[in-house]
Symmetry: C2
Subunit: 139 residues, 2 copies
């Protein structure tokens, strides 16, 4: 193993996000996700940032993704038991899985809609997180 030169920071990603120090690896992961709307998997992130960081490991990609999720910089989304995917859209939204193409699309809530209006929730329920997944076809 060779020694590494210090990694310059990328200009368009801040040095810190929500108290998380942005190392070079975290920057590459975060920057790639910001420009992606495809909800890539950890492995897809890994293959992509290897172009900029040939020595990066998959474990580090998992570490970076987890750190970014923990600091609310990105979101982790799951479809059934498929590999987890990662989403840079921090607004509350759902996910539509187009079965024809395999693509995933963000779906916004209509303005002014609250879940309590739609769901028959038990009393004294405090909702911390909501997940809405749709499967179907774009005709």
């Amino acid at each position: 193993m060779t020694t590494h030169l210090p990694h310059p920071h990328h200009p368009d990603v801040p040095e810190e996000i929500n108290g998380l120090r942005m190392t070079r690896q975290r920057q590459e992961v975060y920057r790639f996700l910001l420009g992606e709307r495809s909800h890539p998997t950890a492995n897809e992130v890994f293959m992509r940032i290897k172009e900029a960081l040939p020595h990066v490991s998959l474990a580090t990609v998992y570490n970076c993704l987890e750190a970014l999720v923990q600091h609310n910089a990105i979101r982790k989304v799951n479809f059934d038991r498929e590999p987890s995917r990662y989403c840079p859209n921090l607004a509350e939204h759902g996910h539509f899985h187009d079965e024809t193409t395999g693509t995933i699309h963000d779906v916004k809530f209509k303005p002014g809609i609250s879940l309590a209006d739609v769901l028959d929730l038990p009393p004294n329920t405090v909702i911390k997180d909501v997940e809405i997944t749709l499967r179907g076809q774009l005709t």
Copy 2:
């Protein structure tokens, strides 16, 4: 390996469900799920029906569960990447995960509510399946 005596069918489960022949193993899996509201995992089903079928294998439980799901007799529900759980409630409903107790509760939709009323769906979208998951606390 010893030879097995023929297994009698259980009186309260039909011989066939939606075209799926109900073997003794499928009957035990199905009958246990019908009486459960806890959304058990495959392993929990396995441990429970072993009491009635000591020779049953975990692979068979997975096979039975998959067959029942495929024939719309039960539903498979996933929470993040936790082990899959199985639900006998065929009505359209969501799942509330109580973080305090770890229990899962079915959540009905309010009558007369359509998803198109709530979500800003792209045009020409045909929804085949919806999944709503809530996480929070029952205070």
